[in-house]
């Protein structure tokens, strides 16, 4: 995973609440078996017209937002399905940070695992940042994970908080599977204890009868 330390870039305003994962990446684009290539279908239902041409009204089709690295939105961002394709699509497009008043749980989790930083800031602050973002290419916003501050184009610094463990993993680009595997001893011990206490969990009692024709 790519580490996230500090990012300075163009922020795209998306003044919507409840941006769900079906909007971020519609289900019909989930058929790929790789992690990349989803960026062209990010927000596909908004970005493209029915004939496949670009919708010039959608923010990510406008300059300078085609190069946005930050997205500003409103409440409950990422609600809906568990698809990790949502952060993959953001990342593949080039967006590495989403700022919103709050996030749906699974999306929030998935983002961290992919080096996309979700930053929670109060609605009023998001509205200010939305205004900053509307200023386009002249208004770069900085997201500094090390210091846990967002720096507005005016230089004003807005503090945010990220869970310390997640911050550590993200700053260092660490894979948490590797971290967990170092605890294999504890997992072994837990499994042994559990097998004794709840023997019925060991394996399914029996498979159903073989279906006809199988």
């Amino acid at each position: 995973m790519q580490a996230f330390t500090t990012l300075t870039g163009i922020a795209a305003p998306l003044p919507k609440a409840n941006v769900d994962t079906d909007q971020i990446i519609p289900a019909r684009f989930l058929k790929s078996i790789s992690r990349t290539g989803f960026g062209k279908n990010l927000f596909a239902n908004f970005r493209y017209k029915e004939d496949g041409s670009e919708n010039p009204d959608f923010v990510l089709n406008q300059e300078p937002y085609r190069k946005a690295e930050i997205l500003i939105a409103f409440e409950n961002f990422g609600c809906g399905s568990s698809r990790e394709h949502a952060p993959w699509a953001l990342l593949d497009f080039g967006i590495r940070c989403v700022i919103a008043p709050d996030f749906a749980d699974i999306f929030h989790n998935n983002s961290f695992k992919n080096g996309v930083l979700p930053v929670k800031l109060p609605r009023a602050v998001c509205e200010q940042l939305m205004e900053d973002a509307r200023m386009g290419g002249n208004a770069r916003i900085t997201v500094d994970l090390e210091r846990e501050v967002v720096v507005r184009p005016s230089g004003e610094e807005i503090p945010f908080k990220i869970d310390p463990l997640r911050r550590h993993l993200l700053l260092n680009g660490l894979d948490d599977i590797g971290q967990t595997m170092q605890r294999a001893g504890a997992i072994d011990a837990f499994e042994a204890k559990r097998a004794a206490a709840q023997p019925w969990l060991a394996a399914p009692a029996e498979a159903p009868a073989t279906p006809p024709g199988a």
Binding site: A17, N18, D20, D22, Q23, P26, A27, R28, K31, S32, I33, S34, R35, N45, E50, E75, N76, C79, G80, S81, S82, R83, E84, P87, D102, A104, D105, I106, N109, N110, K113, N114, D163, P164, L165, D176, I177, G178, T180, M181, R183, A184, A186, I187, F190, E191, R194, Q198, W200, L201, P204, A205, E206, A207, P208, A209, P211, P212, G213, A214
Partner: protein, 476 residues
């Protein structure tokens, strides 16, 4: 244990699965059962392969193919869509390579992952259950802690049988009283979401309690828990009781004999202790619930079927007014319109919310002796091959076909637009699924969520209709 602080059902299952607690309070949580399907796993297996990792406990993992596949006879001759085929073949290849048990596509036990887990007796009370799918919350009806995870977490569980998790907050949603005629578990959960909103449960695990929940059969409890995620919650659960144990007793893969009795003795200790603290409590009277239907593009946009399309001008602020106008434009509806006047093009009875035998019985009870309205495409998609076989044994397929419904093969079907069953732009659908987001059932499609009986009533009437005007003709 005496002297211990009273705990909730969630607390007990959580505590029983903590392998270790990290200094910042994150728990390394042990996972008893990991269900997998073709859409959210290819990248996880790829990750394992790249790192040279294996499945820690293949026998605690079960794969099934459900999202991508056609629900007509074409599945028997090979998947037509090349990308879907690659995804399905990838799961089959990964299962073989990593030794993961997989229910083959043409096996009778194939079905929607959240239908087959409980049906086969793999999902049991007291378990931690995960799947790369948000509606994993369905399995919480068993009295389990079950939640959806992303693909990176799928990889984490495959490799370590654990997850890194922060404890959730406890929420209790209590529904008391008796459900009025024509109302079902689906109406309960839609009414709950209407009350708490789509973010009402964020950060919480919901325990559904109260005598109206206790009175539900397992299928009804699964419907309620299924849509916990639409209320923003990580998971939903119902404490295990005699209804649960009776259900488990007849499941093929569930423990049997002495092992089962020992398990039941343990499961009886799981319900929340008297005096256990919940961070949030919400109460509803079942008697106040009327058959529900959604009008907008979020599950919280829900009203009784007797209602009118709301007026955006009555909303509290401009942002909300604008949002409502946009929803109405998308849905092709106008303020003040009677919901019952909305003509439907498609009716879909299916999805992990409502595709169990009980749901199909409810639809058939309304369809019996009646005809689907002209110009309406109505389809019934059983949640699994076993549900399908059971329905056929009961003659439900015949009743539905005679009424003009399509009777299809098991799968996710028109719940999400990623297989051949899709709405076309502008089509209006009465759907028993769980999400009415823009484009969920196909680009430009308009979804109204409702119960199976209400869906059948809409199919017959040709427009959204009040199931209370459609009393069953005879018995099914």
């Amino acid at each position: 244990m005496s002297g211990q602080k009273p705990r909730t059902l969630f607390d007990k299952i959580w505590d029983a699965h903590v392998v270790e607690t990290l200094p910042d309070g994150t728990a390394l949580l042990y996972i008893d059962l990991h269900l997998t399907h073709e859409v959210t796993t290819p990248q996880a297996f790829d990750g394992l392969r790249q790192a040279g990792r294996r499945l820690r406990r293949p026998e605690a993992t079960l794969g099934v193919i459900d999202h991508n596949i056609a629900t007509d006879a074409s599945r028997y001759t090979g998947i037509v869509d090349p990308e879907s085929r690659v995804q399905v073949e990838t799961l089959e290849r990964n299962a073989a390579e990593f030794g993961m048990p997989l229910i083959p596509l043409l096996d009778q036990r194939q079905g929607i992952v959240h239908v087959i887990g409980p049906e086969l007796g793999r999902s049991l009370p007291g378990m931690t259950i995960v799947c790369g799918d948000s509606h994993t919350s369905t399995h919480g009806a068993m009295g389990a802690l079950a939640f959806g995870i992303g693909t990176s977490e799928v990889e984490h569980v495959l490799a370590t049988q654990t997850l890194l998790q922060k404890p959730a907050k406890n929420m209790k949603v209590e529904v008391n009283g008796t459900l009025p005629l024509g109302c079902t578990a689906k109406d309960i959960v839609l009414a709950i979401i209407g009350r708490i909103g789509t973010a009402g449960g964020t950060g919480h695990v919901i325990e559904f309690a109260g005598d109206a929940i206790r009175a539900l059969d397992m299928a009804g409890r699964m419907t309620v828990c299924n849509m916990s995620i639409e209320g923003g919650a990580r998971a939903g659960m119902v404490a295990p009781d005699e209804t649960t144990f009776d259900y488990v007793r007849s499941r093929p893969m569930a423990p049997k004999g002495e092992a089962l009795e020992r398990a039941i003795a343990y499961w009886r200790t799981l319900p929340s202790d008297p005096g256990a603290q919940f961070d949030t409590v919400v109460r509803l009277e079942a008697g106040d619930i009327a058959p529900q239907v959604t009008w907008g593009t979020s599950p919280e946009d829900v009203l009784p079927i007797t209602g009118l399309v709301p007026d955006p001008e009555a909303a509290e602020d401009e942002a909300r007014r604008e949002q409502m106008r946009r929803k109405m434009q998308y849905m092709g509806i106008t303020p003040g319109q009677r919901l019952q006047d909305l003509k439907v093009d498609v009716v879909f009875v299916g999805s992990c919310t409502n595709s169990r035998i009980e749901d199909i019985r409810a639809a058939a009870a309304i369809a019996r002796g009646r005809r689907v309205a002209d110009g309406v495409r109505a389809m019934v998609v059983p949640g699994s091959g076993l549900v399908k076989a059971q329905a056929e044994e009961e003659g439900l397929d015949r009743i539905l076909r005679e009424a003009g419904f399509e009777w299809r093969e098991a799968g996710c079907s028109m719940c999400l637009g990623m297989n051949p069953d899709k709405l076309t732009p502008g089509q209006r659908c009465a759907s028993t699924s769980n999400r009415n987001f823009e484009g969920r059932q196909g680009p430009g499609g308009r979804t109204h969520l409702l119960s199976p009986a209400m869906a059948a009533a809409a199919a017959i009437a040709g427009h959204l209709a009040d199931v209370r005007d459609f009393q069953p003709k005879g018995t099914v």
